[in-house]
């Protein structure tokens, strides 16, 4: 029958964009077209290094029992930093739970991130004026919220967009589908940013979907899908910026698949050696996004070992200060549990709070040690 030419035999249905190779080489015109200045390059580099240092610190704290389960960024710094760098403060950012780099760039302090991973809801208190949404634990649900926020911006004739981050695993949830479908129908100004880090915990990308690429899923919704080298901060910046501009200009949504790799465990509760070969991880280490940008900067004479040392020192100090603050935080009052449920506390919560307070009072003001 006429349909004998199956999908699998087709040419790739979406473009793959790369500017900066693993060797730190880039076509100069491509770089010029980015419209970025040396200070931008350095800012990108700074955020990527910051994310890695924060990861290291958080992992150490977790191992010492001073932080809860933590989800590292390691390996995905370019994807997060390149994309978030393309945002304006007017844009909405909807994270999953792994976007510490992007959130930090958008005004959330290291302290707040530590609070969140330390198990305090206060870590999710977005600073006034910052248009981020909270960490989203249930996979893919934030996609619909982002579409709604972007759609509202369009209705209100605002020039803001929304970007929403999610993983390769998230593309299997019904919410991914419903979100992209709504965005297509209502031409919402939203950028769907998939960090395809090849795994959803232990489940490899090939087990997640039989689709050749994640980017081509956009075809089901009538808009554009692009694959980009997620370890190439230039290419990520470029495709995200263009997608945002298109959205702002009324051109509707875009699905970006940033092809990257999680270089370590899913979270500190995970053990990657159970489900993937060491060679695979080694292979991806060769494509390290930070090393790559550093090579480029060095080749351009924009970076030196002393600058590197200084940067690391500065960032470590910044993060160390956040850790000190974090560890000095007083315990939150128990009212915290009750007061954010409704605009006004109903009688049952008032009574239950009262009961809890009485109980604590009976034990010298805190829970009895058992």
């Amino acid at each position: 029958m006429a349909a004998k030419a199956t999908i699998a035999q087709r040419e790739p249905l979406v473009p793959f964009i790369q500017i900066l190779g693993p060797d730190g080489m880039a076509n100069p015109t491509d770089v010029v077209e980015l419209g970025l200045k040396p200070h931008d390059f350095k800012a990108l580099y700074r955020w990527m290094v910051a994310a890695r240092l924060f990861d290291e610190r958080a992992l150490a704290l977790q191992r010492q029992g001073r932080l809860g389960t933590y989800a590292p960024v390691l390996g995905q710094e370019a994807a997060q930093v390149g994309s978030a760098y393309a945002l304006t403060p007017e844009d909405w950012l909807f994270p999953s739970y792994r976007e510490h780099a992007a959130l930090a760039m958008r005004g959330q302090s290291w302290l707040q991130l530590l609070m969140f991973w330390g198990g305090s809801e206060e870590g999710n208190r977005i600073p006034e004026g910052v248009k981020n949404f909270m960490v989203c634990v249930p996979i893919a649900t934030q996609i619909l919220h982002a579409v709604g926020a972007a759609w509202a911006a369009k209705m209100k004739s605002e020039k803001s967009c929304a970007i929403v981050y999610f993983g390769d695993g998230a593309t299997s949830e019904g919410d991914f589908h419903e979100g992209l479908n709504f965005a297509g129908v209502f031409q919402a100004p939203v950028v769907f940013f998939c960090q395809n880090n090849q795994y959803a915990i232990s489940v490899p990308r090939t087990r997640q979907t039989a689709s050749q690429t994640i980017a081509q899923k956009a075809i089901a919704y009538g808009f554009e899908g692009i694959q980009v080298d997620g370890n190439d901060v230039f290419a990520v910046y470029k495709v995200t910026k263009e997608a945002l501009e298109k959205a702002r200009a009324g051109g509707g949504p875009t699905l970006i698949e940033a092809v990257t790799y999680r270089l370590t465990h899913h979270t500190t509760a995970d053990d990657w050696t159970r489900y993937r070969p060491a060679e695979e991880v080694e292979m991806w280490k060769q494509k390290d996004p930070i090393k790559r940008l550093k090579l480029y900067l060095e080749k351009q004479g924009l970076w030196s070992e002393s600058e590197e040392a200084k940067l690391i020192e500065e960032l470590k100090a910044e993060i160390a200060q956040a850790v000190t603050q974090y560890e000095a935080l007083p315990k939150r009052p128990v009212e915290d549990i009750f007061q954010y449920m409704y605009s006004e506390m109903p009688w049952n919560l008032k009574e239950q709070l009262q009961e809890l307070k009485e109980y604590l009072a009976e034990h010298g003001g805190d829970l009895p040690k058992e």
Binding site: L144, H145, G179
Partner: protein, 325 residues
């Protein structure tokens, strides 16, 4: 004052509030051009256009999920879920998000969202068109649950729900949509969320009910009065936050309680009411509380539906049971 039936009152509430507040909009399946399968959104499309009377794709998680996003970006969406049974595909967004965003963000964001859905039996609907899922939402902290039983309340409660800063599950007893007409003021008024109504005063026994069970309770009260039994009927109007004072006051007066609801008995909202009465008026109870509810089965479709639904006869039996204890 104009006479309206319940669905007209809902339509009037939507119109009133959309005129009053440009951030209010409705979205859902067939709510625009078609005016809703029950005509609850009739003529909104004409008056407010496709951007405020939005036909969505067939996707309940999509409707509620995007409405949450709109709500946090400054709009006041009123989402329609076409039938009670189709709240389930949106369940995750209702309980894991709408109900929690104030909590999750420490009050930085909140979700002024109303989710309207027709609920309950009595219209000879096909499967999943006659469910009473109120207990699911009453068990979810962060949600308010509102159920009107007459046109006046329907309008006033819906306007209150739209103005409420918290997410409200607004369940409409579809069996009463066109059951009767009553006076409904024009324009702006609210019936406050969290206040029950003593629908009929009485002294021997209290019947607690809501939605389409209110006329059943009133019919029962009327019937019992012929036998000199004085039945007090409490129409809760709001399940969460519950007007516990009105309930307990009545129980203290009568000492006998019948709880009447359509949902299956086990873990229905009736069990919460029974537990609360036990908590707060134990010493006043002169008989065990009786729950007259749907049995613990899937509500049957048309042919056997009436055998499932509590009716005056079963309510009478319940009252006789508490009286004869």
């Amino acid at each position: 004052m104009p006479q309206m039936n319940l669905v007209q009152a809902i339509n009037d509430a939507l119109k009133t509030e959309m005129r009053h507040d440009p951030t209010v909009l409705v979205l859902g399946e067939d709510v625009g051009v078609n005016g809703g399968v029950f005509r609850a959104t009739e003529s909104l499309y004409k008056e407010f256009g496709p951007d405020r009377s939005i036909d969505t794709p067939l996707s309940e998680a999509g409707i509620v999920g995007t409405a949450i996003g709109m709500a946090l970006n400054g709009l006041k969406p009123v989402a329609e879920i076409q039938f009670d049974g189709f709240l389930a595909p949106a369940f995750d967004h209702i309980i894991s998000h709408a109900a929690r965003i104030r909590w999750r963000s420490r009050g930085r964001f909140h979700v002024p969202l109303v989710i309207r859905a027709p609920y309950g039996g009595g219209i000879r609907g096909p499967e999943l068109h006659s469910e009473s899922p109120e207990a699911h939402y009453a068990h979810t902290p962060g949600l308010k649950v509102v159920i009107p039983s007459n046109p006046y309340d329907a309008k006033g409660l819906l306007i209150a729900a739209i103005r409420d800063p918290d997410p409200v599950i607004y369940l409409e007893p579809k069996r009463l949509y066109r059951a009767f007409r009553a006076e409904v003021p024009e324009g702006d008024y609210i019936v406050p969320i969290g206040k029950a109504r003593v629908a009929r005063e009485g002294s021997h026994v209290t019947v607690i009910c809501w939605g389409a069970m209110v006329p059943v309770a009133l019919g029962t009260a009327e019937k019992m009065s012929a036998q000199n039994v004085s039945v007090e009927v409490i129409d809760l109007r709001t399940l969460v936050p519950l007007d516990v004072e009105t309930v307990i006051e009545s129980v203290k007066k009568t000492g006998r309680v019948v709880i009447l609801h359509e949902a299956p008995k086990t873990c229905g909202f009736g069990s919460e009411l029974a537990a609360l009465v036990n908590d707060r008026a134990f010493e006043y109870l002169q008989a065990p509380i009786v729950r007259v509810t749907g049995p613990d089965v899937t509500i049957p479709t048309a042919q056997l539906e009436d055998y499932y639904l509590p009716d005056v006869g079963r309510c009478v039996r319940g009252i006789n049971k508490v009286l004869s204890y």
